[in-house]
């Protein structure tokens, strides 16, 4: 339905123009703000590319952990947060490992969009 280039491709090109063509024309006092704009565009670009798939994967994991099919991601995530606060899954049960794996997957998926460079700097691809 949508025309090409895609929104993410436009964002990537616009970011390139901002950093390489416009930045040299800006006064130094505006460089920080321009970099923040470029960072924001990068996050939007990554999120457009990854789409709904990471959230779907996390939802699937949460549903497996809780054996629930009905509840949505937000509700299950809130339940996980409450359970972790209360010290659930601390008996070395398999569910403890599963819960921790969800935390890892969630965090890595978020950083892939928001700050892949930080992820790489910490040894994650």
């Amino acid at each position: 339905m949508r025309d090409l280039p895609t929104g993410s491709a436009l964002l990537a090109l616009a970011r390139d123009v901002l950093l390489n063509d416009l930045m040299p024309l800006l006064p130094p006092a505006a460089h920080l703000e321009a970099r923040l704009v470029a960072n924001s565009m990068a996050i939007a670009e990554h999120e457009a590319i990854s789409g709904a798939a990471p959230a779907q994967r996390i939802l699937h994991e949460l549903q497996e952990l809780y054996g629930e099919r009905g509840e949505g991601e937000e509700g299950l995530m809130r339940r996980l947060a409450c359970d972790l606060r209360a010290g659930a899954f601390e008996e070395g049960e398999p569910r403890e490992r599963h819960a921790h794996e969800i935390l890892w997957r969630l965090t890595i998926a978020k950083l892939r969009d928001a700050n892949p460079r930080f992820l790489n700097a910490n040894g994650f691809s």
């Binding site: 703000e33 794996e101 935390l103």
Partner: protein
């Protein structure tokens, strides 16, 4: 704590003309210093914290002990704050105590709560030379050879700060440690998370770990509570001042060590665990040799986990100023995303080797 990058207008009193404010400042400086008169030759906003406003003040003093040209900094509250911090007059008292203890800080000069100048309490201090820019300090290859010695020096400075202990009549406004210790901090984190619109299970898990691993209370000392790269000035390789004392309070000495070393403050060099500038060993060595106390790695670990959680919550609070407060500021809005960086660090600290396949 976080640079907003926002342009600022002059310190302002509603309805008062800029000239009146400048005259009020000049009058205050003259009276406080015993000068016959003070002429302001420069008043420029300095980049700095999102919570405080700092102004570079150039002034010509006629008469008195400060006769001649003086380069000062005026520090007052920004229009919006993010977390509970000391008022300016209290911060001034802490700065005076640190200066008297031999800590390298800009010399505190005069404070006032006269509303004629900025509408808010303020204090002045000498302006020290150099840069506090953390990315530059951690990235500049020319600085590299000097950084281990700077880390050791910072360890010594921290020991001097921690030599200030309660009770102190001049610091009687600081909350007793029993009211601001780890248990209270944990309660504060949970209160924030309860009001946050999005669940943060990693932070919840981290806070739960803190709750079940609180170390025994130690004798409290004065903690800076924001002692880190970005909050000290270097002029070349010389340390010229430790800045931003607004979060100071009584605490566990390991609290400041954990904050200094936590990953959130290593900037361009995650591998240099002491503030992005050196190995921990040099920093600890400076601290231990001056304080006579050994650094307990288990306690540092606890406070480093707490530091990552504290940093994450500060990051979320910064973006709340955009998300909830409507403050149009891209830097604040983006800072919220950094909470996830802290969460990765919490996982790496508490679940090393736990990364699932295919994550």
């Amino acid at each position: 704590m976080v640079d907003t990058g926002s342009p600022r207008s002059e310190p302002r009193v509603a309805g008062a003309a800029a000239e009146d404010r400048r005259a009020a400042l000049a009058r205050f400086l003259a009276e406080a210093s015993g000068a016959v008169a003070v002429e302001l030759t420069g008043l420029t906003p300095l980049r700095g914290g999102a919570i405080q406003e700092n102004w570079a003040v150039d002034a010509r003093f006629s008469g008195g002990a400060f006769a001649g040209e003086q380069r000062l900094v005026l520090r007052t509250a920004a229009p919006t704050g993010v977390a509970a911090s000391l008022g300016r007059l209290e911060e001034f008292a802490v700065l005076k105590a640190a200066f008297a203890a031999g800590v390298t800080v800009p010399e505190p000069l005069w404070a006032t709560d006269d509303p004629e100048i900025t509408g808010k309490p303020l204090f002045t201090m000498r302006r020290v030379e150099g840069t506090a820019a953390a990315h530059r300090i951690t990235r500049d290859a020319a600085l590299d050879p000097a950084l281990p010695a700077i880390a050791e020096r910072l360890g010594r400075e921290l020991a001097w700060i921690h030599a200030i202990r309660p009770p102190r009549a001049d610091l009687a406004f600081l909350a007793p440690y029993e009211e601001v210790g780890p248990t209270q901090q944990i309660a504060g984190f949970r209160a924030y998370l309860d009001g946050h619109p999005t669940p943060r299970p990693v932070l919840e898990w981290g806070v739960r770990w803190l709750e079940t691993h609180i170390p025994p209370l130690s004798d409290p000392v004065l903690c800076h509570h924001d002692f880190r790269t970005g909050n000290y000035m270097l002029d070349g390789t010389a340390l010229t001042g430790i800045l931003d004392w607004e979060f100071s309070g009584w605490g566990d000495p390991h609290e400041d060590i954990g904050w200094f070393c936590c990953k959130g403050w290593r900037f361009a060099r995650l591998d240099r665990e002491a503030g992005g500038i050196a190995d921990r060993a040099r920093f600890y060595q400076g601290y231990q040799s001056e304080s006579g106390r050994s650094v307990d790695p288990r306690r540092v670990f606890f406070w480093e986990v707490l530091a990552s959680i504290r940093w994450a919550i500060i990051a979320l609070q910064q973006s709340d100023r955009y998300m909830i407060g409507g403050e149009r500021n891209l830097d604040l809005a983006l800072t919220g995303r950094r909470a996830t960086e802290c969460e990765l660090e919490i996982l790496m600290l508490l679940d090393p080797g736990g990364v699932p396949n295919g994550a």
